[in-house]
Every structure is written in C-alpha cells, then in structure tokens.
C-alpha cells in the first residue's frame, strides 16, 4: 500500500541509493541555480534583475541606450500585461527556461525570441502605442501605419527598438557597462572623499 505512494524505490531495491543521490542532486542544483541566478530578484521589475546573467548584458545595454529607457522596462515588453496571473505564470516559465539554458551553458551566440515571446512583445507595443498606430486621425502624423501593420511585427520596421540593429552575445566586448548601476561602491573615490573631509576640518 505504502509502496504505491512512495516516491522512493523500496528499501531493498538497489535503485534506492541512486535515487537519493539523484534527488539530492536535483535539489542541490535547484538551490544552486536559484542562488546563481539570484532568483529573488526576479520578483521585481528592475531591469537589473535580468543582467544577473551576462548573456542579458547586450540587451540590457542596448535598452539602456534606447528611446524606451525612461518609459519601458524589460517586463513592460516581455511579460504579458493582460492579467496579473498570466504575467507571473509567464515570468516563472520563462525564467526557468532561461535559467536552465544558462546553467547548462547552452546559450546560443545569437539569442532569438520564441514565437510565443514575440506575441507577448507585439501585444505590449500595441498596449502603449495603440492610439498612435490605429487611429486614422493620426494618419497625417504617422503616415506609414495604414496598411502593413497587422501582418508583421512592429520591429520589422522599427529595427532599433529597443535593442539596436546588432544582436548577439559578444556584441558587448567587456560586459562591464552595467556595473555603474551597482550601488556597492561610491561614485566619489576614497582618496577624494578623504581629501574633501580633511579640507573641511581645516
């Protein structure tokens, strides 16, 4: 009876030791991955959460230098906004997927959005820009949008939005630009802070 619901093979089975080991490995891996990926940070909308992985640095940097920096963070585009549950579901699913690929060091040189993700992003473009691109009133202002808008993705024309035209993991050579976002170190070097203090005392 009890056997039926046990996840472990019977004590007598020679599989038992192996399973314990395997479970430990999976849990450990999970914990390791969670730490490695600084999992808690994904609960926030802070783009820095994404740069915890270096493979996200090129997209982070290009976003940082884009017209959308002040308006839209990663999640504004890459997570569904039609309802909250969906948002978290998608995020979790996506996050796990990224994490496993990353931990397995299986990331491709040029990352591409999956079709599913493309739909999400397209919806999000529309979420913000719906009036500009659909109201005939603004045709005079935005000539190009009459046709061709629904049968392709916005970024087939707006190719710089928001990651620029160049894609790929080694597009950022030093992978150091996001570091200024760290708040660990001060923007005033110690020697200068000391000098200023000293000069105040006098």
């Amino acid at each position: 009876m009890s056997q039926k619901f046990s996840i472990l093979p019977s004590k007598s089975s020679r599989w038992r030791t192996l399973s314990v080991v395997l479970i430990a490995v999976v849990l450990g891996m999970g914990l390791f991955m969670a730490k490695e990926a600084e999992l808690v940070s994904y609960l926030s909308d802070d783009p820095q959460a994404c740069v915890n992985c270096h493979v996200m640095t090129p997209v982070y940097n290009s976003w940082m230098h884009s017209s959308h920096r002040e308006w839209a963070s990663c999640n504004d585009c890459h997570v569904p906004h039609n309802n909250l549950a969906n948002a978290y579901f998608f995020k979790a699913k996506d996050g796990l997927y990224h994490a496993s690929v990353f931990t397995a060091r299986a990331e491709p040189e040029v990352i591409k959005m999956r079709e599913e993700s493309e739909e999400v992003v397209q919806d999000n473009c529309l979420r913000c820009h719906i009036q500009q691109v659909t109201q005939v009133k603004y045709n005079g202002w935005l000539e190009m949008h009459n046709g061709n808008r629904t049968d392709r993705k916005c970024w087939s024309c707006h190719r710089e939005v928001p990651h620029g035209r160049v894609h790929g993991n080694s597009t950022i050579r030093y992978n150091i630009a996001p570091l200024p976002t760290d708040r660990e170190t001060n923007i005033i070097p110690t020697w200068l802070a000391d000098e200023i203090n000293e000069s105040k005392v006098k």
Binding site: E36, H54, S62, T171, Y174, I187, P189, I196
Partner: protein
C-alpha cells in the same frame, strides 16, 4: 560565479592604477573607447555655430572684445573644441600669458582644474587647496595629459565617478548628496564637473588667499539665483575698462542651462547625445568621440527621433538662429551702454550718478553671458535661453535710458559716437591692447618654458611603470 566571470571575460592587458593619468595606458585595455576618444583630435566639422573646428570667437564677433574690455577674454577667446586639445589650448591662449617660470604669469593654478586627468592625481598627492595654490606656471610640468579616462572612470570597474571636489562641494552647498545620484544622472554629472559656471573664491575660511574653485549654486542654478549669490557677496570678476562696471563673467553654464530644458525633463543625459552607442565590427560601445551631435545625428538623435537627419539639423539651427538674433541685439545694446558710460565718466560723472547704471550693466551682461557662454544653450534649452536674453534686454534698456538722461545732464544730449569695431583687430586697438606684445610673450613662453615642462613631464612619466596584467587562463 558566472557573473564575475563574465565581467572579466575580456582580457585585461594591464593593471590600471588609481588616478592613472596616461590615457594610452587605459587604452591598452579598452582599445575601442580609446580609439574613439582619440578622434576628438579631428577638427574638420563645422556647423552653423558649433563643431570641432577652431572658431575664433572674437573674430566672428568683435563686439565681444568691447564687452570684455579689461579682462583676459578680450585678448583671445575661441570656442571649445575636442577634449584632445584641452592642454594644448590652455598653453596657446593669450589669457594665460607668457610666464617665464614658476610664480610668473596672470593666471592661478586653479586654471588647470578642468584640463587634465593629471589633476586628480596631483590633488591626491598634494591636497586640494595646495593644488589650487600658486600660479598656473607652477604646475606646468605636472599636467600634460589631455582630458581623459581618469576624469570620469574608476579604473577597476570602469564605473563612472566624480574626480573633482568642486562638484561635490557644490552639491553639499545645495544640501544635496551627490552620492545618491543614479546611473543615468551620472551620465550627465561627469560632464558637470567642468561644463558649469564657476568662480575663484579667495576668501574661504581657512583658505584665505587661495583661489579656490567654487560653483555658485547655493541659491540654485537659475540666472537670477547665481546673480543673487554674487551680489550678496559683492563679488566681481573684473572692473570693466570702459564703463567701470563691476562685471561678472559667466563661464559655460552648460549643465545648469541644460537642466532647464525638455530633454533633461525627460531624463535624457549629456552622454545620450554626445556619447551615443556605436556599433563597430558587430560590437557596441560608447562612442568616446565627444563632439557636436550634429556630426552624428544617426546615433545621437535618431535613436529617439525618427525624423530625417536634415530636418533634425534644421530644428537645431532654427533654435540657434532665433537665439542668435536676440543675443546679437543684446550685445549691440551692451556695447553702446559701455561706451556711453565711458563718455559719462569722461564728462565728469560722479560715482553716485553712475552707481545704478553700472549695476544695470552688470546684470544685463551677466544675463547675456549666461545665455551665450555654453554654446549649446540655444538648443539645450531654447525657452529658458530666450527668457534670460529678454531679461538682459530689459536691464540693458534700463541702463541706456538712465545713461541718456545722465548724458543730457552732463551736457551731451545726442547719440554718443560709437567706435569702429568691425574687426577683431580694430576692436582690440580701440580698447588699447598691445597684441604684438602679447603674442611675443606667448612665443617666448613656448620657446623657453614649455619645452622644459614637457621634458620634465616625460622623465617623470617614464618612471611610472605599467603593470602587465596576469592572465588567469
């Protein structure tokens, strides 16, 4: 972990020391940034009123000679050009004169502050007040590298950092904590170390006599705020040679004016336009060729604006032209006011009769200079720039109406004859500058003292070593 691994994926060639002033050393590790930084040596681009070309402002607009009569700027004033030339240009300008050795010359050591990454190094070695002390010539052998990496970066992480005390102290004075600045703010604040209005305060408690570099921001950035600051401490940069007005010189309040514009309001930083992202060989990096964005609209503007490059340039020119129109009219009135005031003195006016007039002239020209000096203002914040010029026009007319009355009282009730200032030379002659002498002094300096400085510096730098990085894999 993998993040730090990623951080050091590139192979550092050398270990860059704290306050390393030699840009080429940094360049070993960051060749793309360094190469683009070197491009600030290019002087081929000229726009309607900017660009990297050498622009002799006194030649383009000889009125300036009269406006600055009695002050160094009437001898020589060019528009700023690439950072590459910061040291060369301060050697060359007639404003620093022709010092014959330590202790000689018209300018204090403080003048070096915004010209080189040797400055933080020296400040660290000597102390801040000690750095500012003495003559410009005293530190000639110490400062040789043009504006560069150490002015803006921390060497280990390449994080942006503030290397100049004046900015930190100015934030303090405003009751703000600069260490709370966000990353995006830092992308403007590194520029605000230099592209700001400043003065030399010789009366700082405990530092009396030292021309200490101070940004007059205590009451705020607006033209009226800084004016009140200077009026309160009865500061003046010089006394005008013709009108005897106690004058203020506004020096490139770039950051201050920018912060009143719509781009600042929308979170855009200096680096967004002047150091946009660039792709080269499939790699993206920050373009360190700091220059007029009009030479690079594709990266500098079109990231945010989808208009044609031509149209964007036209937008900029249009704002500059409109501003120039009012600014030049204000200059005309100011020239007249100075000359008319000079006439009053000639006719025996008393200090008492002149007091209100000179105060109007001071305030009018301060406004003009605030709007003009940073070169970028008519685009960075066209509406504020126009407001400031309008204020100047009102003050200038206050002065001139009073002058007309006083002149009549002194027996001269007709337009005062204006000098011929149709060229820089004529204007300089009018204010009695002996240009030949100034040029000769400069030549002597360049023949005698300057080579000595450069030699000393070379020897000194030869002793500073470059530590090769240990490659870990």
């Amino acid at each position: 972990n993998r993040k730090s691994e990623a951080r050091y994926k590139y192979v550092p060639q050398v270990v860059i020391g704290q306050n390393e002033p030699r840009n080429a050393v940094w360049g070993k590790n960051y060749p793309q940034e360094y190469q683009s930084f070197l491009q600030t040596s290019d002087t081929s681009f000229a726009s309607y009123q900017g660009g990297s070309k050498m622009r002799d402002m006194l030649e383009e607009d000889p009125r300036l000679v009269v406006l600055w009569a009695g002050y160094g700027f009437s001898k020589d004033y060019n528009q700023g050009r690439g950072h590459f030339y910061s040291v060369e240009d301060i050697y060359n300008t007639l404003r620093t004169g022709g010092p014959k050795g330590a202790g000689d010359g018209p300018m204090p050591a403080t003048c070096w502050t915004c010209k080189s990454p040797d400055v933080p190094r020296l400040m660290n070695e000597k102390g801040i007040a000690e750095f500012y002390s003495g003559k410009w010539a005293d530190k000639g052998a110490e400062i040789v590298n043009p504006i560069g990496c150490a002015d803006c970066h921390e060497p280990n992480t390449m994080k942006l950092q503030i290397s100049r005390p004046a900015l930190v102290e100015a934030f303090d004075a405003m009751g703000q904590d600069i260490t709370k600045a966000t990353h995006q703010e830092m992308r403007s604040l590194v520029c605000a170390q230099c592209h700001v209005e400043y003065y030399f305060n010789k009366n700082l408690p405990g530092k009396e006599g030292v021309p200490y570099l101070v940004f007059p921001w205590k009451n705020g950035f607006a033209v009226e705020d800084m004016e009140r600051y200077y009026d309160d401490i009865e500061f003046s940069d010089w006394t005008h040679q013709i009108s005897k007005a106690p004058m203020l010189k506004a020096q490139h309040p770039g950051y201050e004016v920018f912060s009143t514009g719509v781009h600042y309001d929308r979170g855009v930083s200096c680096a967004d336009c002047h150091m946009p992202y660039k792709s080269e060989g499939g790699q993206k990096f920050t373009d360190h060729h700091i220059q007029s964005p009009l030479n690079n609209t594709a990266n500098a503007c079109q990231v945010c604006h989808r208009e044609e490059s031509d149209k964007l340039i036209r937008n900029v020119y249009e704002r500059q032209e409109k501003s120039a129109q009012s600014r030049l009219q204000l200059e005309d009135l100011l020239v007249k006011a100075h000359v008319e005031a000079g006439k009053c003195w000639e006719l025996g006016a008393t200090e008492d009769q002149m007091k209100a007039i000179l105060s109007d002239i001071r305030h009018a020209q301060w406004r003009w200079d605030y709007a003009a000096a940073s070169h970028g203002a008519p685009f960075h914040s066209p509406v504020e720039t126009a407001r400031v010029i309008s204020g100047g026009l009102v003050k200038a007319q206050d002065a001139r109406v009073k002058l007309a009355r006083l002149l009549a009282e002194l027996g001269h009730n007709s337009p005062v004859e204006m000098p011929d200032i149709s060229s820089k030379e004529k204007a300089q002659e009018y204010i009695g500058l002996d240009m030949e002498k100034l040029h000769a002094e400069k030549e002597t300096f360049k023949k005698n003292l300057l080579p000595q400085w450069l030699k000393e510096a070379k020897e000194r730098e030869a002793k500073m070593d470059v530590v090769q990085a240990v490659t870990q894999n």
